[in-house]
């Protein structure tokens, strides 16, 4: 524990980023559930009012960004464990493209609302 933030080794960095993103995602889940509730029950103007509040807008944006980062880190480990060396690079590259694409779309959509 003492050296948690020391020694910037690549694997250690990956591990730390995974944990830090997880830690910050815990409270941010609140915005996801609030958003989901409104998706099911709010009318369009209520939805827009909720999304126009900076707390909600940036809370949701932060959730999307962090969750995509957390997902990319996690899927990378799974691919490293289960996919042969020769195909690993392509698989991880595809997964990263998927998550970067999703994060970009989410942010672009949320900013323009």
């Amino acid at each position: 524990m003492r050296n948690l933030f020391a020694k910037p080794h690549l694997a250690h960095f990956h591990w730390l980023q995974q944990r830090l993103s997880a830690f910050f995602l815990l409270p941010l889940s609140y915005w996801l559930f609030m958003f989901a509730e409104r998706c099911l029950h709010a009318n369009y103007s209520e939805m827009l009012t909720w999304l126009h509040s900076p707390m909600n807008k940036y809370g949701l944006i932060a959730w999307f960004l962090l969750v995509c980062y957390h997902g990319a880190l996690g899927v990378q480990v799974i691919f490293e464990d289960y996919i042969s060396r020769t195909r690993q690079r392509l698989a991880i590259w595809s997964a990263n493209t998927f998550f970067i694409g999703l994060a970009l779309c989410a942010v672009l959509f949320l900013v323009q609302i």
Binding site: M1, R19, A22, C39, L40, F64, G71
Partner: protein
């Protein structure tokens, strides 16, 4: 080379203990949630397109099959979250004894299921 050497436990023969099942489920739910993320981004997209798209989407989201899928997503998320919290506790070097591993595996399952019931009730 003799062919009767011992091999490592094979997944189809070796019965995984509860802790092992939960561990692989953590990965599985992680992948499923990533796929579910596509749906969430799609919802946000529909909101940007205007009121007509949103009300149409909302009608679809409120069908029984969508609701079942949604509760599944919530459960996957909360299970992944609860197991993630245990990983954070392990990273602090705690609860590694066999009894505690088994005990907290059960605690985690109960908490994630109760949280899902609570949130599903609030959502639906």
């Amino acid at each position: 080379m003799p062919h009767n050497r011992p091999i490592s436990p094979h997944l189809q023969i070796y019965r995984l203990p509860l802790t092992g099942l939960i561990s692989i489920s953590h990965r599985l739910t992680g992948v499923l949630l990533s796929i579910g993320l596509l749906g969430l981004v799609f919802i946000v997209w529909q909101i940007t397109l205007g009121e007509e798209h949103f009300t149409h989407l909302q009608a679809i989201l409120n069908t029984t099959s969508s609701r079942i899928l949604l509760v599944g997503f919530v459960y996957a998320l909360l299970f992944h979250l609860c197991h993630g919290v245990r990983h954070l506790i392990w990273d602090a070097g705690r609860t590694f004894s066999r009894e505690k591993l088994n005990y907290y595996a059960l605690v985690e399952l109960i908490i994630s299921a109760s949280l899902t019931l609570f949130i599903a009730r609030e959502l639906l």
